[in-house]
């Protein structure tokens, strides 16, 4: 792995951890926390791509970042009943 790739991977890892912290400490609003959790999956899939695992990256992007995020939003809408915000 070249230096550039290593730098990019480290940068991605740092951003992933930042997004994960945002998902945990997102006390202000749940939607932001859910979006941050989706961002963790998206960044992880880019990381998998850099590590030469495109199959895993595809799964992570489709399921982790796509379906799971919207599943959380579905449930959030159901829990709130959709009446007040």
């Amino acid at each position: 792995m070249t230096d550039l790739m290593t730098t990019m991977s480290l940068l991605l890892a740092a951003t992933t951890i930042g997004a994960a912290l945002m998902a945990i400490w997102g006390k202000r609003s749940l939607p932001i926390a859910i979006l941050a959790a989706g961002l963790v999956s998206l960044l992880a899939s880019v990381q998998f791509l850099l590590l030469a695992a495109p199959d895993v990256a595809m799964t992570e992007a489709a399921i982790g970042s796509g379906l799971t995020t919207f599943l959380f939003f579905f449930v959030l809408g159901r829990v709130r009943g959709g009446s007040n915000d």
């Binding site: 495109p54 489709a62 159901r78």
Partner: protein, 234 residues
Amino acid sequence: MIKRLVVLLLLAGIGAIFMSLLLGYTPDNELNLTARYYAEHTAQDIGAANIVTAIIVTYRGLDTLGEVTVLFLTAAIVGLVLAQGRQQNSQRSQRKLPESGELLQTGSLLLTPLILLLGVYVFVNGHLTPGGGFQGGAILASAILLMLLTDPMRHFSHRLISVLESISGLIFITIGVLGIIYAGGFLDNRILPTGSLGQLFSAGVIPIIYSFIGLKVGAEFSSMLVNLSETEGS
């Protein structure tokens, strides 16, 4: 206080384990025994350009059958749990929802066919390009998700989804059993000629098996999403 201490100790322990793994890590300069076997034998034995697919569908086909079964059970349980809530609420489920925005409606009209096409492309080309049945199925389900987001009251036929799912599963097993009769063993892909490497119709029955896995996974995820969207919050 004690709880927080325990959590911190647990985190420190996990950190120590990963630290020791990281310090003891030396990158391999050559493939290990199993990986070398797959890298050398996949092309002439299986005929699939994507080694990962050859491992998933043929070398470890039985594990894939297990994964598909687990996913089927998950979808069945989600349906079972959510169906009870649906029956009670079926009369008063005509709650008026606000119209979804113009942007979402037009965008979904444009994007849904493209996403479906991408999903089909991914699982039909599973033996050539990265991705395969599971990824393609998830992409198909995300197209269904987009349609549900645009119109939450849209009705999807449960019968169609379950028939698609069962037929795909049956064909998967049937091809596997045909492998015992006509080729080396269960889920052997050499029922059909392996063809030339890199062609669409190559690698024996891998494209067929992966297409049906894709349809099955897509139907399972879709049934979960449809079940979720049809339950009303109480």
